[in-house]
């Protein structure tokens, strides 16, 4: 048998225990609802303003940058695992990958220069 069935068993065990933990805690804990208990936490004062408002766009910017660089990593993984065999053929793969990386690095430098990751 391959290892994947075992991984599914492992995941199943995690899911079972996590659900059981929440279930047991819900069953054992008291249930005495009060309107005050269910209010949103606001450091001891009545709620000032709703939580749905505008947040800094920088978080979005970081997410977009992350997508680009994470894709880069994922694209290099299959090359990395066969790299020793590919290196025998010549310098072609080496330059191909690092031209690709250099283009993205130029993008990162541009993002830094445009102050995309400055937090004041």
């Amino acid at each position: 048998m391959s290892g994947f069935e075992t991984i599914v068993m492992y995941l199943g065990m995690s899911l079972l225990v996590v659900l059981a933990m929440i279930g047991i805690s819900a069953a054992l804990g008291p249930f005495r609802p009060k309107p005050r208990k269910a209010t949103t936490y606001e450091c001891g004062v009545p709620l000032l303003d709703p939580a749905e408002k505008r947040y800094d766009v920088k978080y979005y910017l970081v997410a977009v940058l992350f997508l680009v660089f994470d894709l880069e990593t994922v694209l290099i993984y299959p090359i990395a695992v066969r790299y020793k065999a590919l290196a025998h053929i010549g310098w072609g793969v080496f330059f191909e990958v690092f031209i690709f990386v250099a283009v993205l690095l130029a993008g990162l430098l541009y993002a830094i220069k445009k102050r995309a990751i400055e937090w004041e």
């Binding site: 994947f4 991984i7 995690s14 996590v18 936490y41 408002k53 994470d70």
Partner: protein, 346 residues
């Protein structure tokens, strides 16, 4: 049939073991911090306060399960589950010893030796972000949302150098199987050093350990829980075992990361200069390899506690600056040097 029984025993044993160690870690953390700050720490429940984690667990189980009325009910309940599930499952592909031979049957001390083990660990590590962002957003509280956003931005920023430093390890070993990586770390490197990953990837290891601390939300990168700024971050509104899953998941993550450090950079179960399999019997060798692996992991677990009480917390702009301006370029340089070395030596 036999294989299934062995697999089941391994799954149950390692799953329980992982959680047991994580539970003990909460005790080590509190006793360790007490030791460093010259106080006693928890010492009432059982000998040396050893039953303190048990008491904490019972307390969390018997607390009222409150869902705030303004929360998005489904997302709120999904958050801790999505955080704990990958944390509890990531150990499945990491070895915990070499092999045990019982009645002529060879048992590999690893739950699942799959050829994509590496990717499995990285993928599950990245899944934790969902738990945090959904929990933060689902609470519908501004501290939670801010904490969740901050935490997400930090985790995904460090995901990139984390992946890149691991990429260099894959370049060196040319495989995704963590058992194969462990096996080749036997013997010596350059004639006098142990053949461990750290000597082939010194810069890679520094990058890995820094990003691992950020991924585990540990000091000095514990900004999601910067209580002096945003209350308790993404788990402000959580209570009872839902909060417990968030806190506990973090300790399980620490154990997984420490074991990954040992597997990739510190020779897994191999001792330097000594080949245990030469003079130990089949059963005692299996047990010895398990103990060696565990002792190395325990050291890195202790390092997490040690660093926590040594280094102060970073400011948020420093965290993001370090991730994008220092670690990513350094990781690319490391990748370049590694590839160049391989290219020159083939």
């Amino acid at each position: 049939m036999d294989n299934w029984v062995i697999a089941l025993i391994k799954v149950v044993f390692i799953w329980t073991w992982t959680l047991l160690i994580a539970t003990l870690m909460t005790w080590v953390e509190r006793r360790g911090s007490a030791m460093m700050q010259d106080r006693l720490g928890p010492n009432r429940a059982g000998p040396f306060g050893l039953f303190q984690p048990l008491a904490d667990g019972i307390k969390l189980f018997t607390k009222e399960d409150i869902i705030p009325e303004k929360a998005h009910k489904i997302l709120f309940s999904l958050g801790p589950i999505l955080f704990a599930l990958p944390a509890f499952s990531a150990y499945a592909v990491i070895p915990f010893g070499d092999k045990l031979i019982v009645n002529g049957k060879e048992i590999i001390l690893q739950v699942a030796d799959v050829n994509v083990g590496f990717l499995y660990v990285v993928a599950l590590g990245a899944m934790a972000v969902y738990g945090i962002v959904l929990g933060g957003w689902g609470s519908n509280n501004k501290y939670s949302i801010l904490g969740g956003l901050r935490s997400t931005a930090q985790l995904i920023s460090y995901e990139v150098p984390f992946g890149l430093s691991l990429l260099a390890v894959v370049l060196v070993y040319g495989t995704f199987s963590l058992r194969e990586i462990s096996l080749v770390q036997q013997g010596t490197f350059l004639g006098f050093l142990p053949n461990w990953g750290i000597f082939k990837q010194p810069l890679g290891f520094i990058l890995f350990i820094v990003t691992a601390y950020a991924e585990a939300n540990r000091v000095p990168f514990d900004l999601p829980e910067a209580e002096s700024e945003i209350v308790a971050g993404y788990h402000t509104e959580y209570g009872s075992m839902r909060l417990g899953l968030y806190l506990f998941g973090e300790y399980v993550n620490m154990y997984t990361l420490a074991a990954l450090m040992v597997t990739l950079y510190f020779g897994a179960w191999h001792l330097p200069y000594i080949d245990m399999s030469k003079f130990l019997g089949p059963v005692s060798y299996g047990i010895a390899s398990f103990l060696v692996f565990f002792l190395k992991t325990a050291f890195f677990l202790w390092l997490f506690v040690w660093v926590r009480w040594t280094v102060p917390r970073f400011r948020y702009d420093q965290v993001m600056g370090l991730g994008w301006k220092a670690l990513i370029p350094l990781a690319l340089v490391n990748l370049f040097i590694t590839a160049l070395c391989i290219q020159l030596t083939v």
